[in-house]
């Protein structure tokens, strides 16, 4: 059916003037994809669907949201009230808001799995280094986007989370305090901060979308990795993207949407992880809530920040944590891609994933000697993974690699 549409005279007319049909054929239909991809490869397209859901729900929320900290009595503000109006008065506003909140957590859940696939199967290795770099950049843009967005409801955690994180800029040598004031637009997080964060939160997802296009273009140049880690070059080992992976991806998206729908309709607060209880209280600049921690998807990075006993040290550690992620393709020197065939690397990778989960768990809890210790051990594993990597290939005995299929 798609073939028939692409073969019409109208399609030919458009193609003569834009290359649109050839583009679609090349990238979406004929694009040669390895036969052996498993469902770990489905998360990329699922993430794209979530991004679109976030942009659409976000746009419709923006039609009714008001970014203003003007007081409306009883500790409430115009911004907080506008969210409650969306929940109560706007037709299906509650649904759109819940989709956006559940979507945000889903986005990070899916991207973490997507990144895990990249690390486990060595998709970051040459010639896919740029693909990986663009991906890590996308991850950082996602974090900024969610940070700007979280301030908007102007709840307790919105306000105090923004205060804590904007304070981090204060640690920059020389220009620290000036920079913090610049980001906030005032001496503390306030109305100017809210309005500019709204503007930035609206903009960043569109920037994200544009860079996702670059991400896919980079992928299509090198073609996809596969679970064996062995490049599939022969004609017998690849299949056209359509209909095989269009249908498979649609199935993956379908499974995701079922789980998404469960949370949106039956558990939108996600047991207090998707929408945190404290944020249903309006912001009080004079009182910080007892247990303050970021939303679950930012907790591992928050723990890295906290585990170093000095303010500057913590910030440096956090920066280093991301820089190491960027450097991954050059730190790992083994010519073997997939962890399946690398016994030492495989153990390291699982430990690495567990360490991130443990850091996240600790980051969620207040600082106690026990959590501090466990968090630091996990942090040691995180950084140790990167520091050990350049040496692994020297003493690792990779398993024999499978032959290319159909070669």
């Amino acid at each position: 059916m798609i073939e028939r549409m692409l073969n019409t005279r109208l399609a030919g007319w458009i193609d003569e003037r834009t290359n649109a049909v050839s583009f679609i054929r090349y990238h979406l239909i004929d694009y040669p994809t390895p036969k052996s991809l498993n469902y770990w490869w489905a998360f990329g397209s699922i993430a794209l669907v979530i991004l679109i859901i976030q942009i659409v729900t976000g746009l419709f929320l923006a039609m009714n949201y008001k970014a203003s900290t003007v007081a409306t009595g009883g500790g409430f503000t115009v911004a907080f009230d506008s969210v409650e109006r969306i929940m109560r008065d706007v037709n299906y506003g509650w649904l759109i808001r819940y989709m956006h909140a559940v979507g945000a957590s889903s986005f990070f859940f899916v991207i973490y799995l997507h990144m895990a696939r990249g690390i486990y199967y060595g998709s970051y290795k040459g010639p896919r280094e740029v693909l990986w770099l663009i991906g890590v950049a996308l991850f950082l843009i996602m974090q900024s986007t969610v940070f700007f967005g979280y301030l908007l409801p102007w709840g307790q955690l919105s306000y105090w989370g923004a205060t804590v994180i904007t304070n981090i800029f204060g640690a920059t040598p020389v220009i620290g305090p000036w920079l913090t004031e610049l980001v906030r637009g005032g001496f503390s997080v306030g109305d100017p901060t809210l309005t500019r964060f709204f503007a930035l939160h609206f903009l960043f997802p569109l920037v994200l979308f544009a860079i996702v296009i670059l991400h896919v273009l980079a992928l299509h140049k090198t073609h996809s990795n596969n679970p064996t880690g062995v490049e599939q070059k022969s004609k017998k080992s690849v299949i056209p993207f359509h209909p095989y992976y269009t249908v498979k991806d649609l199935f993956g998206i379908g499974v995701f949407l079922i789980i998404f729908a469960y949370f949106v309709f039956y558990n939108p607060t996600g047991f207090g992880y998707f929408m945190e209880t404290d944020n249903f209280s309006p912001a009080n600049p004079l009182h910080t809530p007892g247990d303050i921690s970021p939303v679950w998807y930012l907790t591992p990075w928050y723990e890295i920040l906290r585990m170093i006993p000095s303010k500057t040290g913590g910030i440096l550690a956090l920066n280093l944590a991301f820089i190491l992620l960027f450097l991954l393709p050059w730190l790992d020197r083994s010519p073997v891609r997939a962890a399946t065939y690398r016994p030492v690397f495989r153990q390291m990778v699982w430990l690495f994933f567990v360490a991130i989960l443990v850091m996240g768990y600790c980051g969620h809890h207040p600082v106690t000697p026990v959590y501090n210790l466990i968090g630091r051990i996990a942090g040691g594993v995180y950084f140790g993974f990167f520091l050990l990597l350049p040496f692994v290939h020297k003493f690792e005995n990779p398993k024999p690699l499978p032959e290319e299929e159909g070669a």
């Binding site: 059916m1 419709f60 009714n64 109560r88 008065d89 706007v90 037709n91 299906y92 759109i96």
Partner: protein, 198 residues
């Protein structure tokens, strides 16, 4: 690919695509609905008015759903006047379009008077030409209004923007640029001296 199964494949594709389209349409509904007036806007959709605040012959212009509305306490002379000059009106029976008619127009008299009770007129104040609020010129003839009204002026409203004329029932007079009578609006009596508009 096997042509033997082409029919089955086409069926599956068609059904799957059909479901996808149905799903997309269903998903679009809440978003479109969210753009329609919200509950608080709808709650602001009625206005109460105390008719006792009007002396005979007095006009008030009030706001309803953000729009101007005429509330006029008609004298017996005014009521007699509106029943006697059908030939100068474009649409004396208010039948031209649905907007000049109302649910409460049950009897012929109500249709002519364009009110539930003849003493009080509650009608839209938006000129059906291009939307100005016409000026109240209730007394017949040119004595009070000079040349701004024609010599057979029955009393009513004169829209100063482009020269449309309406009688004391808000019905448009022939020769006016405005095509229709002033629109009727839903209202009802809560008790003898109070109306609920909307």
């Amino acid at each position: 690919m096997d042509d033997k199964d082409k029919g089955r494949r086409d069926f599956l594709y068609t059904v799957a695509t059909g479901m996808g389209v149905a799903g997309a349409a269903t998903a679009a509904v809440p978003f479109v609905r969210s753009m329609q007036p919200a509950a608080d806007t709808m709650a602001a959709s009625t206005t109460e008015f105390d008719l006792a605040s009007l002396s005979p012959g007095e006009l008030k212009v009030i706001e309803w759903r953000g729009q101007p509305v005429f509330v006029l306490h008609r004298t017996p002379e005014m009521i007699k006047e509106i029943r006697g000059h059908n030939q100068m009106l474009k649409d004396p029976q208010s039948r031209a379009i649905p907007e000049v008619q109302a649910v409460w127009m049950k009897s012929e008299a109500q249709r002519i008077d364009r009110s539930i009770r003849p003493e009080y007129l509650v009608i839209s104040a938006v000129c059906t030409h291009l939307g100005c609020v016409p000026t109240f010129k209730p007394t017949p003839g040119q004595k009070d209004w000079g040349n701004s009204v024609p010599s057979d002026w029955p009393g009513g409203w004169h829209c100063e923007c482009h020269g449309s004329y309406y009688d004391l029932s808000g019905r448009v007079i022939k020769g006016s640029p405005a095509p229709y009578n002033l629109h009727a609006i839903p209202y009802k009596y809560l008790h003898d001296a109070t109306v609920l508009i909307g």
